[in-house]
Amino acid sequence: MSDLEQFRAETREWLQANCPEEMRQPVRGPEDHCWGGRKWQFQSDAQRVWMERMAEKGWTAPQWPQEYGGGGLTPEQAAILDEEMKRINARTPVSNFGFWMLGPALLKFGSDELKRKHLPPICRGEIRWCQGYSEPNAGSDLASLQTRAEDKGDHFLVNGQKIWTSYADKADWIFCLVRTDPNATKHNGISFVLFDMETPGVTTRPIELISGESPFCETFFDDVKVEKDAVVGELNRGWDVAKYLLTHERNNIGGEPPGYLKGRALGPLAAEHVGTENGKLADSALRADIARLETDHMAFRALVAKVRAEAEAGEGVGALSAVLKYYGTELNKRRYELMMDAMGAEGLEWESERTQGGMFASEWLRSKGNSIEGGTSEVMLGIVSKRVLGLPDA
């Protein structure tokens, strides 16, 4: 038995023994997702136990070094863990921006001290992070951000306003882009800092979306004191960290729909609602639209697989991440439009038990944000035309 085979056998056995039955049920809604953190209310003992057991193995962050609370797994081992979890439908034990974003940034840019301070609590699900990037006048043009951190000798004094801070009202700490040198050119003079959301002077206000959810906040900083050693990477070089994370974020988008459509094929779903004639969807235009969408999606998945294979071979993804971000989100929007076409009147009910409070329409509306957040489709196309195609500026 090879090492990997043995790892698989042991993992399977461990999961079988340690994953509570309840944590093998499909996720029913956002509340079944465990975000962790100081304010987290576990939905059940099983949810708590599962998180703790996985954290103890380091498997909440399988590939992070063990010294920082991770599992220290190789990519091959991590893939096996993932497969074995999927095999029994095990839920993700805990996840938040600490895992997706801050961790990778700290591992690449952070000092050993910062890693030791922040990574273990993330792995244990104790601290939930949020991201402070956009500002009202710095959206697509993120580098024009104006939140200032003044050097007061032994600390920074932060003043300004962020917007689109995901779950800022529920997070414990924030990683945040601030301007530390107002005289430098736009992309310079920005630093990437970390601070506790309970620091005096931090206030948040949830933003209600058109989908009815409030996953984002406005966040205000009024004379917030931040330690000077809370800077990730070099002072005034925070844009490098931000760029790295944005690319990383875009890479994570594989075009698979979240929520209700996750794992559901659109064609058979449509058949339930619009009916069939001779085994084909009764709405033949919808049938053609779905087949075209699914064809495009299959092509997209082939591209994602190719890019991933190349990345694993060390060829790097680079600006292609903009391609994936652009096309994956546009596909997702098309998919939700067709879902709404298929569901007709039944998809439109908003305040009803039948639709679990308008779940279908809400997810459709929420999908519209996909091509805005994390870099708009227009910005992505600009990146592609400049950095991939090499087209010149005017």
Binding site: S140, D141, L209, L286, M343, A345, L348, K368, T376, E378
Partner: protein, 361 residues
């Protein structure tokens, strides 16, 4: 077609009325207050006073009989402001159905009441996810109706239900008293914050019309044509708001309206909106004139309007960026209404299918 002076005057006065009394902020209030009636009563009253509730009611029944072009002009302004009234259900669908197919007695009872604003009417046709008016399960037999309906616009506040049912030989409309025994009404609030009801009819007394089949077909056609005009108005408003934002929002040190890719998309949207307006008015006019191709024109107009409104809503949100995704900002209301209005009385695919069949392919 071009508007004549009378129509132009109507459009101007309705535009003022809706902007004054029925702006988007009223929709927001009604939604946030979870208004029990679910429509804008003061606005509806003002429309009664302006004669608009009787716009399709014959003069002998107290209406102004302005024709569908007139109703379309009202609907355009409703679309621009997202005004919430039973105009479509009562003044268009109800009035058209009754004046087309009802008996003289039924007409005398209901048409003046519609014009005077003392009665609301709701049309119950759909039974499943999609609009399939030629394939109904609801049965009329021996004076009684049984069946399940949904997407009955303003069904929970209606004084009269016009129910599409089949007696075995074909679909027709029947009059049902919503308070009759055997009627169960569940109000459902839709994504666009409008009312629709699910209504169960369990062996309920129903009154046939003189020509309930014609009443159904004519009402559906009128409703589709007027909805096309509403969606055209909605699209125009979204386009103008978005164009305004392009001229005002700065990123990368310049107005975003200076970016050529957005300019071209804005131009393409304007073209679609302008064509949709022209087609909707032409289709309404074709109905008023009983043109040979009126059916084809209405299916084309409703289908095109559904697509244009959705495109406008999508582009409107995208070009507004993050702010467009917030509930605080109005643009999302237009996107929601675009989809609900597009679905009502047959979506773009339904219309394309009928249009193709009329074209012989």
């Amino acid at each position: 077609m071009r508007l004549n002076d009378e129509q132009q005057m109507l459009q101007d006065s309705v535009a003022r009325l809706m902007a004054d009394k029925g702006p988007v902020s009223r929709l927001r209030e009604l939604r946030d207050n979870r208004d029990e009636k679910g429509y804008d009563q003061p606005l509806w009253q003002a429309m009664v006073e302006a004669g608009l509730t009787g716009i399709l009611v014959p003069e002998e029944h107290g209406g102004i009989a302005f024709g569908l072009v007139g109703a379309g002009l009202v609907a355009q302004e409703i679309g621009r402001n997202l005004s919430v009234t039973p105009f479509l259900s009562t003044a268009v669908l109800g009035a058209t159905a009754l004046s087309t197919g009802a008996t003289a007695e039924q007409q005398s009872q209901w048409l003046p009441a519609i014009a005077e604003g003392t009665a609301l009417v709701a049309l119950a046709v759909d039974e499943g996810a999609k609009h399939r008016p030629d394939n109904l399960s609801t049965r009329y037999e021996g004076g009684k109706i049984s069946g399940d309906k949904l997407l009955v616009l303003d069904g929970h506040v209606a004084d009269l239900l016009l129910v599409a049912a089949t007696d075995g030989s074909g679909s027709a409309l029947y009059l049902v008293d919503p308070k009759a025994s055997g009627v169960t009404i569940e109000r459902t609030i839709m994504v666009d914050s409008r009312n629709a009801a699910r209504i169960r009819f369990d062996n309920v007394d129903a009154e046939p019309m003189a020509d309930g089949a014609a009443a159904l077909q004519t009402a559906l056609r009128a409703g589709r044509a007027v909805l096309a005009a509403e969606l055209a108005g909605l699209s125009r408003e979204v386009f103008e708001r978005t164009l305004g934002y392009l001229k005002e929002r700065k990123q990368f040190g310049r107005l975003i309206g200076t970016f050529q890719a957005l300019q071209h998309r804005a131009a393409q949207l304007m073209i679609d909106v302008t064509m949709t307006e022209a087609l909707a008015l032409q289709a309404l006019d074709a109905c008023d004139n009983n043109a040979d191709d009126a059916d084809a024109q209405v299916f084309a107009a409703k289908g095109k309007a559904a697509r244009t409104a959705l495109l406008a809503g999508q582009e409107g949100v995208q070009m507004h960026g993050g702010i467009g995704m917030t509930d605080e900002f109005d643009i999302g209301f237009f996107l929601k209404r675009a989809r609900a209005g597009g679905e009502t009385l047959g979506d773009a695919n339904f219309c394309a299918d009928r249009f193709a069949t009329l074209g012989g392919y």
